[in-house]
């Protein structure tokens, strides 16, 4: 067979395909309910490739100082041991510089007249620096985008380097994720995890799930075998070092007991824990490498969360609600949430939601519903400022091309309006990461910044956007201190 015949063969195939392309309607031909046949159109051939690297993403990558480990920092002196104490350590990093940040920082947005929203929190942070304040904390709520301590970890690490503090903050007793960088965990006994978000277990008739929206049901102790939670900490990490453990629990009867076994020695047993909600508070001096928490709750109970924290400084809690959209606070037990929040005493609350409603929910409804949640938070946490972080870019695939969900921007606006209408602040993650069609550039960056689901960031990607948020927060902090 001569090469010219082969050439003609390919030309005929291309012609045939061109005819199909010309005859095929733009929206394709429906075959069955889900199945739709489509083909290239002439305009597809000249369409801009959305997989091309977005220039703003290239700039973000060039300007970032992060790696895939939120705690990677050669400047950090891991040998220091005083940062779990009440003393505020000296900063080991250069603070964010207001002048340089102004040029590159993607700033927080405030409602008109509410530019000083964060002043009380910044005053507290300043107090941590000069020693007039002992501790404060940030509650970082979010959906799966912050799971596994993502986003929070870098913000926590950077802030703790500057303002002091260590430890993981609040963690669930039974996690959905096993990949925490600070510790490994297992448990003995028939522990079960229940969540108010996602799929709710209909056998749970109450709505007391704690501020994390999830609790672990504590098995009933059998004779001398108390159910236990076992943690092995990586003390070379800042999050793995702490000297205070607080267990937020609910016992069904009084006279419950909790024993703490640190590095194979029972160091303390808390007895006569009352029924109902309480906080078991335990302090330990020295590194905790191995911790077993033995629980004797005679009729069982719930653990709403465990906080591994330093005595002083700043705590930042990662509260991930997989599949959540931030609309559950008003539906959960108000008194119980308030009681837990009173113990936690947050200086700042961050809410990072929106991604899970992008494919499904009307933005007008979401704005009204989210505003109700913010109002509720305002009531149970009076005076605590809130920063709402909007959704990241997310892509759908249409005719082989990845493009931003058409509902992203309306949902982003819904969250922004709800936040600003409530007198709170907003940080636009979608625009910060490059806006329309930035997600394909994150996915195809080298190394990748997002997963091929075109929704979730990789460890490096999430640290990159977390650093942007940290810079935005520190810019406001520096501006506040420049003003005073």
């Amino acid at each position: 067979m001569k090469p010219f015949r082969i050439f003609i063969f390919f030309v005929v195939v291309l012609l045939l395909l061109s005819i199909i392309a010309l005859l095929m309607p733009e929206q394709g031909i429906g075959v069955t309910g889900d199945l739709r046949l489509s083909f290239l159109s002439v305009s597809d051939l000249f369409r801009e490739d959305t997989l091309k690297m977005n220039k703003s993403v290239e700039r973000l990558m060039a300007g970032a100082t992060v790696t895939d480990d939120p705690e990677s920092d050669p400047e950090e002196d891991l040998a220091r041991t005083d940062d779990t104490g009440g003393e505020v350590p000296q900063p080991v990093v250069t603070p964010a510089n207001a002048d340089s940040l102004k040029q590159s920082v993607f700033r927080l947005q405030f409602a008109e007249g509410e530019e000083d929203l964060l002043a009380p929190f910044f005053r507290t942070l300043g107090g941590l620096r000069n020693g007039s304040v002992v501790r404060t904390r940030i509650l970082h709520f979010g959906d799966s985008q912050i799971e596994d301590d993502r986003m929070t970890a870098l913000i926590r690490y950077r802030l703790q380097q500057y303002f002091g503090g260590s430890g993981t903050g609040l963690v669930p007793a039974i996690p959905i994720f096993s990949g925490h960088m600070a510790y490994e965990q297992d448990q003995e006994g028939e522990w079960l995890r229940y969540t108010f978000f996602g799929k709710r277990d209909s056998t749970i008739r109450h709505n007391s799930y704690g501020v994390m929206g999830a609790f672990a049901s504590v098995p009933i102790a059998e004779d001398a075998d108390w159910p236990l939670l076992h943690f092995r900490f990586n003390t070379s990490r800042r999050t793995g070092r702490f000297n205070r453990i607080r267990i937020f629990l609910h016992s069904y009867v009084d006279k419950a007991s909790i024993a703490f076994q640190v590095n194979d020695t029972i160091t303390d047993t808390l007895k006569h824990i009352p029924d109902g909600f309480s906080v078991a508070d335990y302090r330990h001096h020295g590194a905790v490498k191995d911790l077993k928490v033995h629980l004797d709750l005679p009729e069982g109970g719930r653990i709403y969360g465990i906080s591994f924290e330093s005595d002083g400084g700043l705590q930042v809690d990662n509260i991930a609600m997989r599949g959540g959209s931030g609309l559950i606070f008003t539906k959960m037990n108000r008194g119980q949430q308030k009681a837990m929040l009173d113990h936690l005493s947050p200086g700042l609350i961050m809410l990072q939601f929106g991604g899970n409603v992008v494919p499904y929910m009307n933005s007008g409804y979401y704005q009204r519903a989210f505003k109700r949640e913010l109002q509720f938070i305002k009531e149970i946490c009076p005076g605590t400022p809130v920063i709402v972080i909007g959704p990241s870019d997310m892509s759908i695939k249409e005719r082989g091309v990845f493009k931003t969900y058409p509902t992203i921007e309306p949902i982003r606006d819904a969250l922004k309006n709800a936040a600003l209408d409530s007198g709170f602040a907003f940080w636009d993650l979608y625009t910060a990461m490059g806006g329309y069609n930035s997600m394909p550039s994150f996915v195809h960056a080298d190394p990748p910044l997002a997963s091929t689901d075109y929704v979730h960031f990789t460890a490096l990607g999430v640290n990159l956007v977390a650093e942007m948020f940290y810079n935005a927060l520190m810019l406001e902090y520096n501006n506040f201190h420049l003003k005073i």
Partner: protein, 501 residues
């Protein structure tokens, strides 16, 4: 218009893009005019191949040109010099230059990271090639990073095989440098193999073009099969399931991790074999025969048998140019095992410069050694019983799939996370939900394995039928297959689904 001739790293010339096929049609048009003039034909295909490599790798094509020139002249030195010392010098220089280039571009980071980790140092990689270029020619290359030229692992091994074969007098040196350049850079197999031996390819340089109608059908069948395997099965599975799991193993249950591993075992096969199927088909339509590179590897009955079926051109290269020179099986049982381990460890490193590939190679080496011991004592080794054969295939497949954990994981940490999830967080209760929610993914996976494991005679019957049908039917089927591939390529993304809260 000018963009067509410029290097664009985001639009390389690869088989799965329309641009490649337009390029190929233009090549065919020119080829149909000049194919009878042997020297012109080879020179044209050399030029087309350099253009292909320029579009894929930019200025790295100069390295290809350097490799071509150095090995051409060293080949001549080896063949034409009368002194044994010069011959030896020539072959040593060729191996050294090729391995140095490969090491520089591929292994610098691995060596530096390893040294830093072992001795607690903080050595930084500097691209001296870029540095010299910047100083000498006022270029502005980034000196802080070394990029890996596409296909360097393949063409360096190919040119080593040439000079060694000339040294061993298995092949005469190529007479003209353009012919040699064509052999080194022939675009169908330049970036992903197969590694074509000089002794198999060079005689074809001097032959007239010939292609029967049956061969045309065979080549077309290979191209369509390769595109289908790569785009409908491999790309779909990777995008919608496998990549998500391996990028974040702890975000998924052990069951999902395990399914992603089985999916990957299929994906890596359909990707790689699909690509080489296309390469063989594209080359054959130009009248050049490239050897088969895969032979239903998951039908292998042992690890040894697997390596005779998987990436055949590499495993035979390693056998002939590494294992046998090391002593092969000629120096006793222990040394045979040592040689096997060295070969497989280096073979692992050839696939990628990281500890994961070393572990993967090492595991395959251990698999070979253990199987050698086992077959001496196994009562079933010579059994032809169907159940025995099934059991052997099953175990080999499981073992090879197990080794893929390290082949696919981006780091040792991710590999450990994968193992942790499978062994500690399996979560069998969600299996029905996972299977249902990802039903299309699992259907594609089942289709891939089914088409792999069907009897060879079924595949041959299909091939035979395709070869015999008239050309107009081939046109229609080709268009239909491309239309089907487009449906898969343009399919909506599998949404992210949570099974645990």
């Amino acid at each position: 218009m000018l963009d067509i001739f410029l290097f664009d790293p985001e639009n390389p010339l690869i088989f799965t893009r329309l641009f490649f096929w337009l390029f190929y049609v233009v090549v065919l048009l020119v080829y149909s005019i000049i194919y009878k003039e042997r020297a012109v034909r080879n020179a044209f295909l050399f030029a087309a191949s350099l253009f292909f490599y320029w579009k894929t790798s930019g200025l790295f094509f100069l390295i290809l040109v350097f490799s071509t020139a150095s090995d051409f002249y060293l080949g001549n030195l080896i063949h034409y010099s009368h002194r044994k010392g010069w011959k030896k010098f020539g072959v040593i220089m060729s191996v050294f230059i090729n391995l140095f280039m490969l090491s520089y571009f591929k292994y610098t980071y691995f060596f530096v990271d390893t040294v830093n980790a072992l001795f607690n140092l903080d050595i930084e990689v500097v691209n001296h090639l870029a540095l010299w270029s910047n100083r000498l020619t006022d270029t502005h290359f980034d000196v802080s990073m070394i990029l890996l030229p596409v296909g360097i692992s393949f063409y360096t091994f190919q040119t080593i095989s040439y000079t060694v074969d000339v040294y061993r007098r298995k092949v005469d040196p190529v007479k003209h440098i353009l012919d040699f350049g064509f052999y080194v850079s022939f675009f169908p197999q330049l970036v992903a193999g197969p590694i074509v031996r000089a002794s198999e390819f060079i005689p074809q340089l001097y032959k007239r073009y010939s292609l029967s109608y049956q061969e045309f059908g065979f080549a077309l069948f290979l191209i369509l099969k390769g595109l289908f395997k790569k785009m409908v099965i491999g790309d779909y599975l990777a995008l919608n399931f496998i990549d998500r799991v391996f990028s974040n193993p702890t975000g998924f249950s052990g069951f999902e991790n395990l399914m992603a591993l089985f999916g990957y075992s299929l994906q890596v096969y359909v990707d790689f074999s699909g690509y080489t199927d296309i390469a063989i088909g594209v080359a054959l339509l130009l009248g050049f025969r490239i050897p088969k590179n895969f032979n239903s590897p998951y039908k292998a009955t042992s690890v040894g048998n697997f390596w005779k079926r998987w990436h055949i051109s590499l495993s035979s290269w390693l056998r002939d140019y590494l294992y046998i020179p090391l002593g092969g099986n000629r120096k006793g049982r222990i040394m045979t095992d040592v040689n096997l381990m060295i070969t497989m460890l280096l073979g692992g490193l050839w696939h990628g410069a990281s500890w994961q590939f070393l572990v993967w190679g090492g595991l395959n080496g251990v698999g070979l050694v253990v199987y050698k011991l086992w077959k001496r004592i196994s009562p079933y080794e010579k059994s032809k019983h169907r159940a025995v054969r099934f059991w052997k295939i099953f175990n080999t497949f499981l073992f090879i799939t197990f080794t893929r954990i390290w082949f696919r994981s981006e780091s040792m940490e991710k590999a450990n996370q994968f193992i942790y999830q499978v062994t500690r967080e399996f979560n069998g209760s969600i299996i029905p939900q996972v299977l249902w929610s990802y039903r299309l993914v699992f259907l594609v996976m089942a289709l891939g394995y089914f088409t792999h494991w069907v009897p060879e005679r079924w595949k041959l019957a299909l091939l035979d039928w395709f070869i015999r049908i008239p050309i107009w039917a081939k046109v229609l089927i080709t268009a239909l297959v491309i239309f089907a591939i487009y449906q898969s390529w343009s399919a909506e993304l599998q949404p992210f689904i949570y099974f645990q809260f």
